[in-house]
């Protein structure tokens, strides 16, 4: 689907203090694969248009687009999506888009997911798709998720009990009392301790703010992961 289609917000749900899930009904939208995104086009009353990309948080149902948006303070589009959009609002949707940063249920082998902040969204879609695979052939998934504090985590309960998935939360600002790891940014030690070892041959998906993605990809390569198995999705910003 390559043209712009009209989507209508049908549901919103708070996720954290600065993020929420939006569900849109989009007639004609079909066949999405986990990891893909949509482009949203919003038009202001004066005709000004802004286009932004948002990853699909869940795939499997046609004509439905579920995204999870974190507010970028002073951003043009994200504060509207997080605080103002309400059921009935219309916006244009182009997608599903991209066949490179995707995981398909037939893909074999283990999968390492590495997320920074809202970069967890397309990776959650992959883990959700993995959980629907009932054959014994599906590889195990591991998720390393960096968040500022526990209150900033997306879907923590669900991702703690998703079939086939082991999730490790890494807190950069403030760790829960029970956590033995001191708060801090992703390190080589984290990669070596919590991720699959390079010889496991896992496919690696890294997603988050551009700075996080570049740092994480470099740490993975330093730790011995094959660069040819690492796919990245930079969200922009720092």
């Amino acid at each position: 689907m390559t043209a712009w289609h009209t989507g209508q917000v049908v549901h919103t749900e708070p996720l954290t203090a600065s993020a929420r899930v939006l569900t849109l009904a989009v007639p004609g939208f079909s066949g999405a694969v986990a990891g893909q995104h949509v482009d949203l086009r919003l038009t202001a009353p004066d005709g000004y248009q802004a286009v932004r990309s948002y990853s699909l948080a869940r795939v499997g149902a046609d004509e439905v687009v579920e995204i999870a948006v974190d507010e970028v303070p002073d951003g043009e589009v994200s504060p509207y999506l997080v605080h103002e959009a309400r059921p009935g609002d219309l916006m244009e949707v182009r997608g599903p888009l991209g066949g490179y940063f995707v995981w398909r249920p037939g893909d074999a082998g283990p999968v390492q997911l590495v997320a920074g902040g809202s970069g967890i969204v397309p990776l959650a879609a992959m883990a959700r798709a993995r959980a629907t695979v009932t054959t014994h052939g599906a590889g195990l998934f591991r998720l390393l998720a960096s968040v500022r504090t526990h209150a900033d985590a997306f879907f923590p309960d669900e991702l703690g009990q998703t079939e086939g998935l082991t999730t490790t939360w890494l807190y950069s600002r403030q760790a829960p009392a029970a956590s033995s790891r001191p708060p801090g940014r992703l390190t080589r030690y984290d990669v070596e301790t919590y991720a699959f070892a390079p010889d496991a041959g896992a496919h690696v998906y890294v997603c988050g703010p551009t700075g996080f993605v570049e740092t994480a990809a470099a740490l993975l390569v330093d730790a011995g992961h094959d660069v040819a198995r690492i796919r990245t999705e930079r969200f922009g910003g720092g």
Binding site: M1, T2, A3, G31, A32, V33, Q36, H37, V38, D39, A50, V51, S53, R94, G95, P96, L97, G98, G99, Y100, F101, V102, P209, T210, G211, R231, T232, E233, R234, F235, G236, G237, G238
Partner: protein, 93 residues
Amino acid sequence: MEHAPAPLDGNCLAGPLAGFFTADVTVVTGCCRHCGDVAMMGASVVYRHPMGAVARCRACTAVLLVVVEHPDGTRVGMAGLAWWRLPVESGPG
């Protein structure tokens, strides 16, 4: 817009180039005319602007492709690519 916005991945070319080619551009393999690096377009480094995007080589940063989304029509320049190869089994999109 700010001076140098942070780059994105070639994945985000899928939308602007949808409708231009029948294949999903992000899984098309390209060869950099400048350094010879061969990679899928999804692995390129993309700088997006309100009117379009510039995809640069992940190896040498040379410009591979420029797309401008204009009301008169989308324009694509591919002077930085020596060739493109379509995947045998083209992805969705």
